[in-house]
């Protein structure tokens, strides 16, 4: 046998069952379906490369989520240029009309209006249900900073909801 034998069937099963949810996570983090598509493709490709180890440890979803969040943090540093992420041959997200007629709720707009780390902290803590410590670990900030980010972020979101 040449190379490491990967469990392709398990990878396909994981992607089929979880990629829609992870796509929404990416969208919540970055606020743009195109960018979310790039983030997810990057993360799922890295997942395949690391599949043996990550699957063995049973942390596939956490791994993909971490790649999405960290790649987005890195990308946001390079605001001046859009990352050149290889897509899948023959699949052009921009060709789908759904994007042109997309409508976003006031809450989502408010979520995207939060400063980047506040938004990520709120998404991880209050949508995905991570603990303060887990959120701090994923974002590379202290637990105290997570608490202040989420507190301020929630305050703004609740103001939007109460005005609806």
């Amino acid at each position: 046998m040449i190379g490491r034998k990967r469990d392709d069937a398990a990878y396909v099963e994981f992607v089929a069952s979880r990629q829609q949810h992870l796509f929404r996570v990416a969208y919540a983090v970055c606020g743009d379906w195109h960018q979310a598509s790039d983030l997810l493709q990057t993360a799922l490709t890295k997942l395949y490369v690391a599949w043996s180890r990550v699957h063995r440890d049973g942390r596939e979803e956490a791994y993909v989520r971490q790649i999405i969040v960290r790649t987005n943090i890195d990308d946001s540093r390079r605001r001046k240029r859009r990352p050149e992420t290889p897509g899948l041959d023959g699949f052009d997200l921009a060709s789908h009309e759904e994007l042109a007629v997309e409508e976003r709720s006031a809450l989502f707009e408010a979520l995207q209006g939060l400063p980047p780390m506040q938004r990520k902290a709120v998404v991880l803590r209050h949508w995905l249900g991570l603990s303060v410590a887990e959120t701090a670990g994923e974002l590379g900030i202290t637990e105290g900073t997570v608490k202040s980010h989420t507190s301020r972020g929630l305050e703004k979101l609740q103001a939007v909801l109460s005005n609806q």
């Binding site: 190379g3 396909v12 992607v15 395949y48 690391a50 943090i73 899948l88 809450l107 209050h126 909801l161």
Partner: protein
């Protein structure tokens, strides 16, 4: 009001996604052809072993005046030198090891030097401010680039310690990941190939792609942890690309190298068959044709502008399928799921008509 439900409700489902099979193909492609790992992975692992002591020493040194506040180290002028930076990076080292920034809108403050023990290589922790965004950046001098992490500026001691620990963990994870993912061979900053720990060189073929200087190539058979790797490296200076043979695509290592040489020169290496009289395929030396289908039997796989045919053949003790179109012959070895000529045709159809979009 439940904020979780509200957020859940506010996020739509988005446009259709590629199928899981298409994701698999992208992953396989990434595994087969990858940039050679630099020494960063090994360095990252080494750094963790002595990292705690280094950090403790740093904090002792830096907290003399105020135990709760990290004292900023003397802050030298940071030149503007975008040419020295990697694309997308806003700070980095120039050739002299000096920290430089991309433009005048970027304000750089030194937090600490030699934060991590990187085998004598320079590393610097910076607070970088651009507009209203402030983050910490740990630069370290090696071919792998820099680690970046966002964090508030002017940190307290506890936050500083926690951030360093986080960086160490992340570097360790990146190092372990790179060691596993990038295979058994790395390239050091001088362009010298090195086997990763536990790897054993079985065979080496110099310059199988017959590249001219300064480029070169090398074919390697390497064993690590009971797994055999076939690697083909294309090298230029201190960087390179590696290609890894997919499982059992070729009967021998030499045949795989020959195929790559032929592709590099724009010609097919393994032809196995040729068109003879009446557009029938004929086996070349050592090749036995088991079965063949002509244009009329290929259905949607036939091409109007060329004569086409598919053959099942035996060569060097194995079964192969060859798609012949005009003067192009594309052989592929039989593998599980592609053991009959019908299964091979199904595979060709799937490749040509990818159903990439989920219903």
């Amino acid at each position: 009001m439940n904020i979780t439900e509200e957020i859940e409700r506010s996020i739509g489902t988005g446009p259709p996604l590629p199928t899981a099979t298409a994701r698999l193909a992208a992953g396989k492609s990434a595994v087969r052809r990858r940039r050679l790992a630099g020494g960063a992975a090994a360095l990252a692992l080494v750094s963790v072993l002595g990292g705690t002591a280094a950090v403790a020493g740093l904090l002792d040194r830096d907290t003399k005046s105020d135990p709760d506040q990290v004292v900023i180290v003397p802050n030298p002028d940071v030149p503007i030198d975008p040419e020295a930076l990697q694309p997308g990076h806003i700070v980095g080292y120039n050739e002299d090891g000096q920290v430089v920034r991309r433009d005048s809108n970027i304000k750089v403050t030194y937090l600490a030097e030699e934060v991590l023990e990187l085998d004598g290589l320079k590393n610097t922790m910076l607070s970088v401010e651009r507009g209203d965004e402030v983050e910490w950046i740990l630069l370290y001098q090696n071919p792998g680039g820099s680690f970046y992490q966002g964090s508030p500026s002017q940190p307290g001691r506890a936050e500083f310690e926690q951030q360093i620990e986080f960086l160490q963990e992340r570097m360790a994870a990146a190092g372990a990941q790179a060691a596993e993912e990038d295979g058994p061979v790395m390239i050091d900053p001088d362009g010298v190939l090195q086997l990763s720990p536990g790897a054993r060189l079985v065979r080496r073929v110099d310059n199988p792609l017959e590249m001219g200087p300064p480029k070169k190539s090398v074919g390697l058979v390497v064993e690590r942890e009971g797994t055999t790797y076939w690697l083909l490296l294309r090298l230029s200076g201190g960087s390179g690309w590696q290609e890894r043979a997919d499982e059992a695509d070729y009967p021998t290592f030499d045949m795989w190298l020959d195929q790559n040489l032929a592709e590099a020169r724009g010609r097919p290496a393994l032809q196995l068959v040729r068109f003879g009289a009446d557009d029938q395929l004929v086996g070349l030396s050592g090749v036995t044709i088991i079965r063949q289908l002509d244009d009329t039997q290929l259905g949607d796989l036939s091409r109007p502008e060329h004569v086409s045919a598919v053959a099942e053949v035996r060569y060097q003790g194995r079964t192969w399928f060859v798609l012949a179109t005009g003067t192009t012959y594309s052989p592929t070895v039989a593998k599980p799921g592609r053991e009959t000529i019908e299964e091979y045709l199904d595979h060709l159809r799937a490749q040509r008509n990818p159903d990439n979009v989920q219903p």
